[in-house]
């Protein structure tokens, strides 16, 4: 589904990703861990197509298509979703407006007609219930006045509404209380299935107790320096990254 080969990327003349390889197949869950500043968010953003990153070498293929040629909105319509580490507040654009525009953009991309208003409301309402977001909050501006945890749950709501095929969640578990962590995990698991894949960027073993990964990778100094199964996360939790950096 996603094939990343020898990826080099820079931000403001500074090389952050230095030859990264990663291969993800449908149905898989990959966790990416690694020290602060190692390039995890950079990788997520490059996949999602955010402006400001320059890819200098390597390739990223999604279903065999060159992802790097596509505008970020087209990538989203093709089924890529990035849950942001720091979701932005957009006063004046309501959550409902965003969701509706996003759904319809995707439908248009797939040659479908716009969603019927009633179907839309029902679709969103059911999913808001799953992530315990009061539908009333959805008439507010995007993330406007939401607490840190509410913002993260709202990212999961958007994901549930849009039903992406590749979910990249950049520290969606950071700053969550126990209950919220459970809600986020349930949201991710609800979408888990043979046709979808998930990338969890995280610093903590905690989330992985709820969402069992198939693979755990360590990203350091712009590369994947170690890969393993779920047990690698536990090892990291005990030992930190020092032993890998030294290696």
């Amino acid at each position: 589904m996603l094939e990343i080969n020898n990826l080099h990327a820079r931000v403001e003349e500074k090389e952050i990703l230095k030859g990264l390889n990663l291969s993800i197949k449908p149905g898989e869950v990959h966790a990416i861990m690694g020290p602060n500043g190692s390039g995890k968010s950079t990788l997520s953003n490059v996949i999602a197509g955010r402006e400001g990153y320059e890819v200098t070498e390597g390739s990223v293929l999604f279903d065999g298509k060159n992802l790097l040629d596509l505008e970020p909105e087209i990538r989203a319509c093709e089924g890529i979703f990035l849950g942001f580490q720091y979701p932005v507040e957009i006063p004046g654009v309501s959550n409902m407006t965003l969701l509706k525009a996003a759904i319809n953009a995707r439908r248009k991309h797939q040659g479908e007609t716009e969603i019927a208003p009633n179907d839309f409301l029902a679709w969103v309402r059911d999913r808001a219930k799953l992530v315990k977001i009061d539908p009333k909050m959805l008439s507010r501006g995007v993330n406007e006045g939401f607490s840190g945890g509410e913002k993260k749950r709202n990212e999961i709501l958007q994901m549930l509404v849009l039903q992406p095929r590749l979910m990249i969640l950049d520290e969606t578990d950071s700053g969550l209380d126990i209950d919220a962590l459970k809600i986020v995990a349930d949201g991710i698991n609800a979408l888990r299935g043979p046709t979808r894949a998930t990338v969890l960027v995280t610093h903590y073993q905690r989330l992985l107790d709820y969402v069992q990964p198939d693979y755990v990778h360590v990203l350091a100094r712009g590369r994947i320096v170690k890969s393993g199964g779920p047990e690698l996360a536990k090892e990291l939790e005990e030992k930190g990254y020092g032993w890998l950096e030294a290696a």
Binding site: A48, G49, R50, E51, E71, P72, E73, A76, C77, L82, F84, P87, V88, I90, P91, G92, V93, T97, L98, A101, A102, A105, R106, H109, G141, V142, Q158, L162
Partner: protein, 411 residues
């Protein structure tokens, strides 16, 4: 700034022709105004209030006073409203509302500049007078349509809105035009009695080309309330003066405005609120979307006169530059001569939030759509002030027009 000999010659010739058709009694006050106009000429950039809106180019023009009446074509009349329609200052048949029209007008004491030019040539127009305690049961839409005449033409009108104590009205001043080379000036004298309430919308959607200048002078008595919403959606050279005098205690005004400019337009808003009595409240909130090849000027001023204690006033101005070549001069200004007052003011000039834009795009929303969503969000605070659904819908749809707002965003 006084005019050189021979400058303004075309105006003198036009005035002579116009004045010859008047009776001697009519002519005298007009001549006083016209000579004041000749003495001062058009304001230029040396005058502080006109610094960014130099009018000296108008001196060279030869505008003929309107004589013809253009054809009425289907016009944007709003449902659930009464209407008065002027085309190039000529009233169109309006049987039910013609009682709100007057062919004649009151002239002000001799004045200068554009005001004097207006007073010299002015014909009448809207004359809405409501007795004590009465209320217009429907909003009144006053349309000012400018249309190309055979040659460059000018029109000058003076209007009156006078609400008796406790009277209430909603009035829409609706300026639209085809962008032909015209000069139009409008003066509105607004007087609100005790406890009267006026909701005034001033909408301008001219095509680039013509010159439009409006002045609204409002005077509020005790506990009167004046709510104004002004929207500029296009225009060639536009200048609006809005002067509000809170003359007696308890008077209250809120002024909200949006300018979202068409290409090549020059829009200058001067809003002045004078707190002349104690216990008055004023709120000013203006927002601008300023595109390439346009110039926006906003000058907001609050004056708190001696004795106007317990004044409560707030001014906020925010501008969004949609291109690096956009030009905006926004200035909030405060003069306070009383000590027990609460006054706040602030002005910002910013750019479209790129992070928000990236967020929307990451959810699949096309760049142009995402930009339009953010622009609408920026304008929302002002749009929310339009408590007339049909009018709001009309303005929102005008703002959504890709040609108005998304065309040049790539810059």
């Amino acid at each position: 700034m006084s005019a050189q000999p021979n400058e303004l010659a075309t105006y003198s010739a036009q005035f002579e022709r116009y004045a010859n058709a008047l009776t001697a009694a009519e002519r005298a006050p007009r001549s006083v105004q016209f000579s004041r106009f000749l003495a001062s000429g058009f304001p230029d950039k040396h005058q502080e209030d006109w610094r960014y809106s130099d009018l000296s180019r108008l001196a060279e023009q030869n505008y003929e006073p309107d004589v013809t009446t253009a054809e009425v074509s289907p016009i944007a009349l709003l449902p659930d409203a009464d209407a008065l329609v002027y085309i190039n200052s000529h009233l169109q048949d309006a049987p039910s509302t013609s009682r709100w029209h007057s062919d004649t007008c009151e002239l002000p004491p001799p004045t200068t500049g554009v005001d004097a030019l207006n007073a010299a040539f002015a014909s009448g127009g809207l004359r809405l007078r409501l007795d004590r305690g009465t209320r217009l049961d429907k909003p009144l839409q006053v349309l000012f349509v400018s249309r190309a005449d055979l040659q460059a033409s000018m029109s000058h009108q003076r209007h009156l809105i006078e609400l008796g104590d406790q009277a209430e009205a909603t009035v829409l001043l609706d300026f639209s035009g085809d962008g032909s080379e015209r000069l139009a000036t409008h003066f509105f004298d607004v007087r609100l009695g005790r406890g009267a309430r006026l909701r005034l919308y001033r909408i301008q959607n001219e095509k680039a080309g013509g010159t439009l200048m409006t002045r609204i002078d409002a005077k509020l008595s005790r506990d009167a309330k004046f709510e104004a919403v002004t929207i500029d959606l296009g225009g060639g050279f536009i200048r609006h003066d809005l002067d509000i005098a809170l003359a007696e205690s308890g008077a209250e005004t809120t002024v909200a405005g949006l300018y979202a400019q068409a290409k090549h337009s020059h829009i200058d808003n001067h809003v002045r609120v004078v707190h002349a009595a104690a216990h008055c409240t004023s709120r000013m909130n203006y927002r601008g979307l300023v595109d390439e090849k346009t110039k926006a000027v906003f000058n907001g001023k609050v004056v708190v006169q001696p004795g106007a204690q317990k004044t409560d006033s707030e001014q906020r101005i925010a501008n969004l530059l949609l291109s690096r070549k956009a030009e905006v001069n926004a200035k909030p200004d405060l003069e306070i001569y009383a000590d027990d007052v609460k006054c706040a003011h602030g002005a910002t000039v910013g750019q479209l939030d790129e992070v928000a834009l990236a967020y929307l795009r990451s959810r699949g929303i096309a760049k142009d759509t995402a930009r339009a969503m953010l622009l609408r969000a920026f304008a929302l605070e002002i749009l929310d002030r339009i408590e007339w659904p049909a009018l709001r819908a009309r303005i929102e749809s005008a703002l959504h027009l890709p040609s108005e707002l998304t065309v040049d965003f790539e810059a």
